[in-house]
Amino acid sequence: MKNNVNYKKEIVISLSALCAVSFILMNLQAPKNSNDFQEEVAKIEKTETRKPASAKKIKKLKKASNEKTFEEKVAYTFDKIRGVELCLEVECDYPDNDPREYSLSVYKDLSMRITKYSNFWKNSWSKMTTKDQEFITGLLKHDDGFVKKEILSLLNSLPSEDTGKYLGAVLNDVIDYHDSQLIPAALVFLNNTQTPDNEMLVSQRLSAALRVGGPHVSQEISKGIHNFISPNTAFIYEATLTSLPEEAPETTYLMSALTEYEMQQSGG
């Protein structure tokens, strides 16, 4: 009976170790053919190991991880994201069963890591440095809707006094992008960020997107455009209306928003 218990313990420990190693191996995306990349990621993988590890060692590593300072945790996640980004330039171990699967898989991994990165910042916005802001702005440039969605989610949780720094990035990399599913969140951001100083800029860019943006993007923008029509910007949208295709959905929505605005101005 005693031997039996020990035997079970051994099985449990062995399986735990096997699981831990397998889990780490599964989550590491090893590059296939780049020495430069190997060097780049070597420092990222300092706290991870490809060698078989005991459960005790894993526990120790976990404990060490918990003892990291806020800055260390952010830096660690930052490096993890950089590591995944490099896989867009060199070939790593992501699935490659159809022409797009590889890059889409990298972006999927990237967006997951950005979610973790975003979680660090909740209630810690004051600790954000210029470097962090530039990093976030850079991530928004990625050609992937899921990555942009995660960044928008992060930006929409920022205190409103901090959002202005990202206005240009959202206009360039979301409003001018082709993914209409990002537009509702982008409009929330723009609405929160809009000030008397930048409302003309915002409306000019939204107007441009209505005219020459992708059809679905134009349509989504037009659905939320009523929040951007003001005495200072109405003329921009009135001019835009005349240049839109007459029966296009964006025309219907913009016309409706302008009519409602006029009713508000006249008192009904």
Partner: protein, 519 residues
């Protein structure tokens, strides 16, 4: 032990992200599956279209682009291809003109050819088809993951596919063109494209981006690349243009209005663009019309009766206007005087078809999809027994008065199909109340919600009598709903004056709460 269990769970059920790939099963949501042949218009496989889009909407708006498998294959293929080729060309032109108004005619020519080649490459130009069993299906390739003409993949574009974007022929095309256009515009900066006017290589580089992502623009220059065969296949199609062999020289394709087809709010699309409705300013006509035909004034269709023009703002209600005023069903001429009376859908269409009016209550009789627009994105499902207030009515006269009602379920505003004049009681019936009242009804009370008060007018949009201050409580005597955005006016009495007050739009964005609070 807990750690072990957790670990095993992670091993066998890998972490999934809310973003990125969704592991849909092969032939996900595929009913009535049927095969096909690797020829234009009928590529395998196909699944019921109704899962993702309203069949009534497709039949009404895209009937010319449904391959009818009950007809002779050879002649039907020529008919279908003549229509679809024309539609794709027109849509490609519409798209490039919108994105790049400065595009030259040469660029346009190459762009259209490239778009046609992709539709060949992706699906053999296949989208909708109707089987001998009269069921409407949509093409599903790549083990059911690729949806329709441009093979929008349900694993990577799950939200768009699930909402019905890939099932709508124009949405499907535009969704894919967004990606191809990005490649088209970035191509001249690549080493394999010598200049903006190197259109041949530009089309191939853009295909690389479309097929393999931003880094694959110059993939076509590497014959040993793992996916080089895709580039070769595209080149063969681009060079051969074999689709053109199926286009009839004698059949004139149906005129298309891409802006209208892309608008899932509109139910039918004529060839002539119709201007948006205008705010009506009463002005009696001085000359009576000489013919009993439909008259046109900007976006309105009108009938002359008793020296007044009676007009509708929704062109799809033309048949109602014709019936109501016993007109000849032809548009006679454009009138230059302003119309007098703007009629609502209910005014013109509610004869012998028991159409519910805006503000009425209804009870759902069978579960049916709730869509953003009659043929638009899926929002929810309204279920048997649920009650709603009607917020808008869209009818299709040419289809036996089939109708869609706009209702609000939770936070979603959407339309659902509610049958035709013969079977509408199987879909929804009139009720006495609803769980949520969004439009005030006669006898109810409202409070003015605007900060500066609201004008009281003699008629809807008519002469101002006075301004009713904010927070004033009033009894609603009647409601009037006019225009395509369903402008709500309520009739009230304030300090001895009876009049009408604007109370917001009902759709596409409801603004009623900005104007009144229902007490």
């Amino acid at each position: 032990m807990k750690a072990l269990i957790t670990c095993l769970i992670f091993l066998f059920f890998p972490l999934t992200s809310q973003a990125g790939k969704v592991n849909t099963a092969n032939y996900w949501k595929c009913s009535d599956k049927s095969g096909g042949s690797w020829t234009f218009g009928t590529a395998p496989q196909a699944c019921a279209a109704k899962t993702f889009i309203s069949e009534q909407f497709v039949n009404n708006k895209f009937s010319a682009y449904i391959f009818d498998e009950s007809k002779g294959r050879t002649s039907e293929r020529v008919r279908y291809m003549t229509e679809l080729n024309h539609l794709v060309e027109e849509a490609a032109e519409y798209y490039l003109k919108k994105r790049k108004p400065s595009a030259s005619s040469t660029e346009m020519k190459w762009w259209k050819r490239a778009v046609l080649a992709i539709t060949h490459q992706e699906s053999f130009m296949t989208h909708y088809r109707e089987g001998r069993d009269k069921k409407l299906r949509m093409m599903r390739g790549d083990f059911g993951h690729g949806h329709g003409l441009m093979q929008v993949d349900d694993r990577w574009h799950f939200t768009a596919v699930n909402q019905g974007r890939a099932a709508n022929l124009i949405d499907n095309l535009f969704y894919a063109l967004d990606i191809y256009y990005k490649g088209w515009e970035s191509a001249p900066s690549k080493s394999c494209v010598s200049s903006k006017s190197s259109y041949y290589n530009r089309a191939r580089a853009a295909y690389g981006v479309y097929n393999g992502g931003a880094s694959a623009a110059c993939r076509f220059t590497n014959p040993n690349h793992r996916w080089a065969r895709n580039d070769k296949n595209f080149k063969d199609k681009f060079d051969g243009q074999s689709w053109s062999r199926y286009i009839s020289s004698s059949q004139k394709p149906k005129a298309v209005n891409i802006a209208c087809l892309s608008n899932s709010s509109s139910n039918s699309c004529g060839s002539t663009p119709v201007k948006p409705p205008v705010v009506v300013v009463p002005e009696p006509p001085t000359q009576p019309a000489k013919f009993g035909k439909v008259l046109k004034y900007k976006g309105l269709l009108c009938a002359l009766q008793d020296r007044s023009y009676h007009c509708i703002s929704q062109p799809e209600q033309r048949f109602c206007l014709v019936n109501k005023f016993n007109l000849i069903n032809e548009v006679a001429r454009t009138i230059s005087v302003k119309p007098v009376i703007l009629l609502s859908v209910e005014d013109v269409c509610n004869h012998n078809n028991e159409l519910l009016e805006v503000g009425n209550f209804l009870e759902i009789e069978k579960n049916v999809n709730l869509r953003e627009t009659p043929g638009g994105l899926l929002k929810d499902v309204v279920r048997t027994g649920e009650t709603y207030q009607v917020l808008d009515v869209v009818t299709v006269e040419s289809r036996n008065n089939s109708r869609y009602y706009l209702v609000k379920k939770g936070s979603n505003l959407g339309y659902f199909y509610a049958g035709d004049k013969d079977n509408h009681k199987e879909w929804a019936t009139k009720a006495n109340s609803a769980r949520e009242i969004l439009i005030p009804v006669a006898g109810s009370y409202v409070s003015i919600a605007t900060n500066n008060g609201t004008n009281l007018r003699e008629t809807p949009a008519g002469t101002k009598i006075t301004t009713v201050p904010s927070k004033t409580q009033l009894k609603v005597l009647s409601t009037v709903i006019i225009g395509t955005t369903n402008k709500l006016y309520i009739e009230v009495e304030y300090k001895g004056n009876k009049g009408f007050m604007y109370s917001g739009q009902i759709h596409p964005n409801s603004s009623i709460n900005n104007w009144i609070t229902i007490l």
